[in-house]
Symmetry: C2
């Protein structure tokens, strides 16, 4: 059985790890948001790709939620003493990925090829595919600070400015990466899972790559989203805050509405079970919080079981 | 009193530190070889500049002889696991200089300006000036391996291949850095010191920058070299080996001959005192080994005292 997941960073990576455990050696691909990528210190940084890579390789820091476990920060300390920019923290081990990726990109290699090779070297069996090899950049249009590049908004401003609109510069000219296109077109594909990442910041850029939304709409297999909302809050990050700023109630039914026409079913947390009747599509209620590996495995199992119940009924719209 | 030193890496940096201690707040500039610079992992690495910078900032590793003291190597370990090139070791703290320098060069800043700023931030009062802001690259022509870029010869091949010739690609089109030109032209300049660096690999590239050799030849102030040869051996590095391979006896009189027409006096080690009569220029005999700071200070004092005895007699040739 072949599964394709769409994912941003931390929350998405947790579910992908769960899917990996459940599927075993089964065929799993994850298309990852690259619109948060940016140039920093002359290096190409891909935060979501790296979070997924580190999580699947067992190298991630589970406490901090980003970067590598057992990390050291001597580079940053030395950079500070040279007057360098230190608002975006790069650990010593993490830096190897950025330096090596930048070098290989400068040599003309694609991001897709670099990520595939790094994943293989780190023993990751999941196919991690960037949504695109082309430059797409999230711009967060804020009410008080104007348009901000994503990392400026996310790290430098700590998501404080109120969001008016989000756009994806370069998206209309981008193409899905060949590996992403192949994963969508795979005749063995049985389920597409939209991970509980931020729909506006992490999933929408993937859907903004020309052809992707249409391919999901037309898919004759179940497309299942896992709601990132638990009891009216986001588990992590600014999802609920952004929803309110955009005039949207942070509920799972609003998530279903956001993915309207795209998904065949929504997995929501048991704390939001009262939302079920307002959601006009099939719903699976389970515990969506993922604190440990067992939670990840259990949620992945629930998602795949739910998809199975929808198989055959899912029709391209 | 204003002093200008010409220096390569380790040995030169030791004497420059000694000069710094002796001159106190006096005016000291050091022109540093940049022909060993190279692009590695997409980063601009300047080994001699960094050795001088770290030594004067008190950050150098005195045991290893290169890089920073109290260094960690987590970047290299992570890079190895990604299949990256690991033949040239970059410490985590050291890496900050390379990343920041590369970023600023890419923004259009000159090496001279970057080094001056970093030195100032690290509390270094000596003016560290690159010999040039233009690309000059040492090529070591070997008998068995053909022409090798310097770091290939020096680090990857550990100086093993026999040297037939050394050339400096780009030298004829290079200009002295503005700060180097200003230091040479400084009317307050009283002495020029050629540090005990490798004359062929570290000093010759500085002299190959158009105008530099002529400026030293014409200088009406003493130009003093410190011989890197002690008892027929180089203190460190491949100087004696290369001299033999080039058909030159590794003696201090050969060093005097190499700098013929350029220097007004040579400082040699007491173990080579018997060479004095073969050296056709004024010689000062002292202990040139520099094991500790006191050695550095004492040698610097001897060099400056020697220069003083030659002041007035030194004439542009």
């Amino acid at each position: 059985m072949s599964v394709l997941a769409l994912s941003g960073g931390v929350g998405g990576a947790k579910l992908v790890l769960g899917l990996r455990v459940v599927l075993g050696t089964g065929n799993l691909a994850v298309a990852v948001n690259t619109a948060d990528d940016f140039e920093h210190l002359g290096l190409h940084v891909s935060p979501d790709l790296d979070t997924v890579l580190y999580t699947l390789a067992g190298l991630n820091d589970p406490v901090r939620g980003w970067g590598r476990a057992d990390e050291s920060w001597n580079f940053m300390g030395a950079l500070a003493s040279l007057g360098g920019e230190t608002w975006f923290a790069l650990g010593d081990r993490d830096l190897a990925v950025h330096v090596e990726r930048t070098r290989r990109l400068q040599m003309g290699e694609t991001l897709t090829s670099i990520v595939a090779d790094m994943a293989s070297r780190l023993g990751v069996a999941v196919r991690i595919v960037p949504m695109t090899d082309d430059p797409v950049r999230t711009v967060v249009h804020t009410r008080d600070e104007g348009p901000l590049p994503f990392q400026d908004y996310f790290v430098r401003h700590r998501c404080a400015p109120a969001v008016a609109e989000i756009s994806f510069a370069g998206a209309t000219e981008a193409r899905p990466s060949p590996a992403f296109a192949a994963a969508i077109a795979d005749p063995e594909l049985r389920t597409i899972v939209i991970a509980p990442s931020n729909p506006w910041l992490s999933i929408d850029p993937i859907l903004a790559v020309p052809g992707v939304r249409r391919a999901l709409e037309d898919a004759r297999i179940p497309v299942i989203a896992v709601s990132p909302i638990v009891h009216g809050q986001a588990v992590k990050g600014p999802t609920a805050k952004i929803m309110r700023e955009l005039g949207i109630e942070p509920t799972s039914s609003a998530i279903a509405h956001h993915y309207n026409g795209l998904i065949d079913g929504l997995v929501i947390d048991e704390s939001d079970a009262s939302d079920v009747e307002q959601i006009g599509i099939p719903v699976s209620v389970t515990r969506t919080l993922m604190n440990d590996l067992d939670d990840r495995r259990r949620l992945a199992q629930a998602v795949l079981a739910f998809a199975e119940t929808l198989t055959g009924t899912a029709t391209g719209s």
